[in-house]
């Protein structure tokens, strides 16, 4: 099958959607499909052979933050040419409701179009204003995919219609086969807790964990907190009593391999996020590596953890509850072993073998009985006049 995938965000900037697109493309190529990815990128950035650059994304303030977006005639022309040259059986666009490449592709093409909605943003004013413009483009999408039941709910509320839920994929084996590192492994009386995420991003919840740490160390002495992620380390430990600062180990940015090894080594993975998550891929990665998971009870996390069956939950931003659950888990090896086993069983549905098969099932469903993707001639002004005379 010839598949065209449109990634709305810059290829050279790391992010959840980009990784998802990359892994999906590589999985599909591995199965023998022809895949071409259209993504914004700087001209200098080396791109994998399957990626076609759509030009540089322009930073624009949008919806409260600076987004890097593609628009204008040049981008539209490149999208059109890519659609024309690719002769795809199916077009898979990501995040079509943001003003970016995905929307342009949706505008420029016709035929079987699949769209994945990643974020579950609350409805923005721009979207309400743009609704009449957006609607004709979104109407062309034959199949919508939401990454979680939560994302699907917001999608249905905002745009109407329906979507199927297919979670983000994880390469389970990559994490399950990682080699534990003895320096990061806990021992009785010296447990290790893992945290991965931006240190200076309060949404990731490190401050909550820091608040809970004194109580944890008091009841489980010798416990070390291993923190992997970018940010100011001095600032992060500023609120901690001096005696406890040795219990926090900062690892900085870690590579994929070290991330897997870290998750494989720790006695407990804690996700104290305070909001803004639509999926929670890190929890799936932790479970794949066999780490017991304790997470804040955000909607998205609750779903990823099977309502609390595959990992434990605590009330969001409740440092006391976090400390109490952490101590209880560290003192009960039996419960942790139970969570490891449940987690390992639960993550199979997130493996690329399963997720990729589901995505392919969607492709096959929309291509059944439909022509292949072609440029939409109706958008050209001349074509429109031509049509008007019919």
């Amino acid at each position: 099958m010839r598949i065209g995938i449109v990634c709305p965000y810059s290829w050279d900037v790391p992010g959840g959607v980009q990784f998802h697109v990359r892994d999906l493309a590589e999985h599909l190529i591995g199965l023998g499909h022809q895949v071409s990815v259209l993504a914004p990128s700087d001209d200098e950035t080396p791109l994998p052979s399957y990626v076609v650059s759509a030009g540089r994304a322009v930073p624009v303030p949008y919806n409260g933050s600076v987004a890097r977006l593609n628009f204008g005639f040049l981008s539209a022309a490149r999208v059109r040419r890519w659609v024309n040259d690719g002769d795809f059986h199916v077009l898979h666009i990501h995040e079509p409701a943001t003003p970016s490449l995905a929307l342009l592709a949706c505008w420029a093409a016709q035929g079987p179009i699949v769209a994945t909605f990643h974020t579950s943003n609350p409805r923005s004013r721009a979207m309400i204003a743009a609704y009449p413009i957006l609607q004709p483009a979104l109407e062309k999408i034959s199949a919508r995919i939401a990454v979680s039941e939560y994302a699907r709910r917001t999608l249905v509320e905002h745009l109407g219609g329906d979507a199927v839920t297919i979670p983000n994929g994880v390469d389970v084996r990559f994490f399950a086969d990682a080699e534990p590192k003895s320096a990061w492994q806990g021992a009785p009386g010296a447990h290790t807790i893992g945290f991965i995420g931006r240190i200076d991003e309060p949404r990731k919840g490190l401050p909550v964990l820091m608040k809970a740490l004194p109580a944890i160390v008091e009841q489980a002495p010798g416990t070390r907190l291993l923190v992997a992620g970018r940010g100011d380390e001095q600032e992060a430990v500023a609120g901690l009593p001096r005696a406890l600062r040795d219990n926090v180990v900062f690892l900085g940015m870690v590579s994929d391999e070290d991330k897997a090894r870290l998750l494989r080594s720790v006695d407990l993975y804690v996700a104290p996020n305070t909001g803004g998550e639509s999926f929670g891929i890190i929890l799936v990665e932790a479970m794949s590596a066999g780490a017991p998971v304790l997470a804040a009870d955000l909607d998205a996390f609750e779903q990823v953890l099977d309502g609390g069956a595959a990992g434990e939950l605590f009330p969001v931003e409740d440092a006391e509850a976090l400390a109490a659950r952490t101590v209880a888990l560290l003192q009960e090896p039996g419960r942790r072993a139970d969570l490891r086993e449940r987690g390992a069983r639960h993550v199979r549905r997130f493996d690329w073998a399963t997720v990729g098969a589901d995505v392919l099932a969607v492709y096959e469903t929309v291509t059944d009985g439909a022509a292949s993707v072609a440029p939409d001639e109706r958008t050209g002004l001349r074509a429109r006049f031509g049509l008007a005379r019919d």
Partner: protein, 245 residues
């Protein structure tokens, strides 16, 4: 002179209205094409499900009572008139749920020669019906929203196309076939290298090839563990996946 300007303006306005209406008609036309394609996919999915169910019912791997229930439901679903289609297909869903209420029936199917493929096909078929139906009904909803609009009704832009109807049925698959997490779909191929964590690992016995429905034929011979298609080891490695999600 002013009359000429007025005439020009009227002509321009009419032209613009004409362009807008033709564009709307184009939109509607595309939506109808989308509904047709979605309906064809849904029909194909339903037919596929009924055929596999019927095949299974006549294969003699299930007990006689279950075989009869399944055969009757699949037969009715295939031959149902358009008006009774939704009811007949819903009854097939119910029959499948009743027959595969416990996992032992599925085990029995898998144990039969060639049963593993049949079980996979049935699993794929029952999972695809809700998918196809959702896409179909989504297209129907979009078309109905546009057709209810004044401009479409006043100018009869929809022509003679019938008012689209959603396909309503009970398409809930049997839990043992729908559940992607337990038993039905193992972690990628290699035996013993399942996702078993340090404390777990008992569940890693893979039973099928790496991709139960993506590829049609290869990788489906009985011990399909070591089949070709899954060269994804080391995939994702070595490329800067940052620590943040």
């Amino acid at each position: 002179m002013p009359t000429l300007t007025t005439v020009i303006w009227i002509v321009v306005a009419l032209l613009l209205v004409g362009v807008y209406l033709s564009w709307t008609a184009g939109r509607l036309d595309r939506l109808h094409a989308r509904i047709d394609a979605a309906r064809a996919a849904l029909d194909a999915g339903l037919l596929r499900r009924a055929s596999i169910a019927q095949e299974l019912a006549t294969a003699g791997v299930l007990d006689p009572a279950a075989s009869m229930v399944l055969y009757q439901a699949a037969h009715d679903a295939r031959l149902a008139e358009q008006d009774h289609r939704e009811v007949a297909e819903s009854e097939l869903s119910q029959a499948l749920r009743a027959v595969f209420a416990e996992g032992t029936q599925l085990e029995a199917v898998r144990a039969a020669p060639g049963g593993r493929e049949t079980a996979e096909e049935l699993g794929a078929a029952v999972r695809r019906v809700p998918m196809a139906r959702r896409f179909h009904n989504d297209a129907v909803r979009a078309a109905r929203a546009l057709r209810r609009h004044r401009k479409v009704r006043w100018f009869r832009l929809a022509g003679h196309a019938p008012f689209p109807l959603a396909f309503e049925m009970d398409d809930e698959p049997p839990p043992v076939l729908a559940d992607r997490g337990h038993g039905a779909d193992p972690a990628p191929g290699v035996p013993g290298a399942g996702p078993g964590g340090p404390g777990g690992g008992g569940e890693s016995g893979g039973s099928e090839g790496p991709d139960p429905e993506g590829q049609d034929s290869e990788g489906h011979h009985p011990e399909g563990h070591h089949s070709e298609g899954h060269d994804d080891e080391g995939h994702g490695s070595g490329q800067g996946r940052g620590p943040e999600d």
